[in-house]
């Protein structure tokens, strides 16, 4: 199986990996839209989607109504709706950029997935991470490529050639650049800590997880316990970078109608949201790897220990699936957290967003970096 994979030409391998990314990210994003509806309904004390049913399934005695009640078919109904409804293109838009913007949203969202390690298996006692493209500058690659996502919002706002999308686009460009600084500064203490002085440094996300799965009390501690402020700054900046409430200024439907996507409909509109959820998934994945121990089941219990208890050392496939399950479970919780915040906290005003970004979060991130840099220098002296 492994030999067969490596015997394939590089181009075929790349194409298969790309296909796998699309086949995994699209369903996960659409599941997120479903979860969003369910969670919002649950938080607001209403039933949520519970009417959709495929005709023949309605006649199955117990299971049919149960599935209908759970609203599982809503997912398929929403997807079909976006595919088959009319695609309106208003006459006043700049057509090339108007069409290009949703596509540009998808490219960074799907590309960043490739450098995020999503699981691990044991090979001769060594934990080997599972990742599509293993680059040494993993985190930098995620930041660099995801920073290109800003163009979809700017171009959508500009090409729509009307007031509200334009304001949304302007807001997006200022907000995303502002919070990128805090986001990058917040993760630096983690890499200062894992790169011992004198060694060749790395920005690999898999190395961060490896560092959090060492034996002993301090070795097995997740970074969220040792660097809570970094984690807090990172998650706040992540909310702003993914345009989630309370930072959804570019969209802000109460004052901008729909913000950058006001003029969009049908599948183009859906692509923006698939990209937004894909960004959330990748962001949550990076947060999990950096601060929540990646694929390690619990703090102080690394994956290798769990494999020892369950005698799974010799079954790389089962252990790989288990680690992927643990990783996706943590991501699912973080996605739920995103939704929890969205349906609980009101939106900030735009000047407040800028004030938080530049006057609160950035100084805090710099102070945090300085304190950890001095502390680490003192500890490793």
């Amino acid at each position: 199986m492994v030999d067969f994979w490596f015997s394939l030409p590089l181009v075929v391998q790349g194409l298969l990996k790309g296909l796998a990314v699309i086949l995994v990210v699209f369903p996960m994003s659409s599941l997120c839209t479903m979860a969003e509806r369910k969670v919002s309904a649950w938080i607001q004390g209403r039933p949520g989607p519970n009417r959709t049913i495929v005709p023949w399934a309605a006649y199955v005695p117990v299971i049919g109504p149960l599935l209908q009640r759970m609203g599982l078919f809503q997912l398929a109904a929403d997807g079909l709706k976006f595919l088959v409804k009319e695609e309106p293109v208003p006459g006043h838009v700049n057509k090339p950029y108007f069409t290009l913007a949703p596509l540009i949203a998808m490219i960074p969202a799907l590309t960043t997935v490739t450098v995020v390690p999503f699981g691990a298996y044991l090979s001769g006692g060594q934990v080997v991470p599972l990742v599509l493209a293993n680059v040494d500058v993993g985190l930098l690659a995620v930041f660099a490529v995801s920073s290109l996502g800003i163009y979809s919002l700017i171009l959508a706002g500009w090409a729509s050639n009307s007031k509200y999308p334009f304001l949304g686009g302007v807001r997006a460009s200022a907000q995303l650049i502002s919070y990128e600084l805090s986001l990058t500064l917040a993760v630096l203490p983690v890499f200062l800590w894992i790169n011992a002085p004198g060694t060749a440094g790395t920005l690999s996300l898999a190395k961060v997880v490896e560092f959090q799965s060492q034996p002993g009390f301090w070795g097995g501690t997740w970074f969220i316990f040792t660097m809570p402020l970094s984690a807090l700054i990172f998650i706040i900046a992540l909310f702003a970078e993914t345009n989630r409430q309370p930072f959804d200024m570019p969209e802000s439907e109460s004052d901008l109608v729909g913000g950058f996507h006001t003029e969009y409909g049908a599948f183009k509109w859906a692509l923006f949201f698939v990209a937004e959820y894909a960004n959330m998934i990748v962001g949550s994945g990076v947060f999990t790897l950096l601060f929540l121990g990646g694929w390690n089941p619990l703090p102080w219990i690394p994956l290798a220990t769990l494999a020892g208890w369950l005698h799974l050392g010799g079954h790389p496939l089962i252990l790989g699936l288990l680690s992927i399950g643990i990783f996706i479970g943590k991501i699912a919780f973080l996605i739920f957290f995103f939704m929890w915040v969205r349906w609980t906290v009101p939106r900030f005003r735009y000047d407040q967003v800028m004030k938080i970004g530049w006057q609160k979060l950035l100084p805090l991130a710099i102070a945090n970096l300085l304190v950890y840099a001095l502390g680490i220098a003192f500890l490793t002296k």
């Binding site: 181009v11 950029y97 930098l140 700017i154 706002g157 650049i177």
Partner: protein
């Protein structure tokens, strides 16, 4: 395969760089600049200089060009002609640009091919984070600091110039 990819990205870089200069529409020019930077980043990746490639994407493609677009959108310029009074001013830059193009082409004819050392003898400086950091904090420390001071001075100048005498701004004032 490698040669083919190099040709594709090199062509992308050059054609888009020309597009930045030629395009009348400012947004098209900015997007050409973005594509050109992406081409350069891809060339860096072909050379295994991942750090440079991703820093280029992060800083220039991700932030600088986005700010260009932000300014273009704020000023709302849609390929207008320059005012008649300023036409005369553009003559000098045009001559300078033409001279630069001629000098570039002439250098191609005089020395079109650089001496290529054997692959093994070239140190892989782009591959290591540590070497980058070491060079930045030793050999190139002074240029980096001077540039950062220049940018700081420019920023302070803009703030001073844009803030008029006796004018209050912002919420609550």
């Amino acid at each position: 395969m490698g040669q083919f990819l190099f040709s594709v990205f090199a062509c992308l870089t050059v054609v888009c760089a020309a597009g930045v200069v030629v395009c009348k529409n400012v947004v098209n020019a900015a997007m050409c600049l973005l594509l050109s930077l992406l081409g350069v980043a891809a060339l860096f990746v072909r050379l295994d200089a991942f750090l440079l490639a991703f820093l280029l994407l992060l800083v220039y493609a991700g932030a600088v060009v986005a700010l260009f677009l932000f300014i273009i959108m704020l000023l709302d310029t849609r390929g207008q002609q320059a005012p008649q009074a300023r036409r005369g001013l553009t003559v000098a830059p045009r001559i300078a640009a033409a001279a630069l193009v001629v000098a570039g082409l002439a250098s191609l004819f005089v020395k079109g091919r650089l001496a290529t050392p054997a692959v093994g003898t070239v140190p892989a400086l782009g591959a290591s984070l540590k070497l980058h950091a070491y060079l930045l904090f030793t050999t190139y420390l002074l240029p980096v600091e001077i540039i950062s001071f220049l940018l700081l001075i420019a920023m302070l100048g803009v703030i001073v110039l844009s803030k008029r005498e006796g004018e209050h701004s912002g919420y609550g004032n």
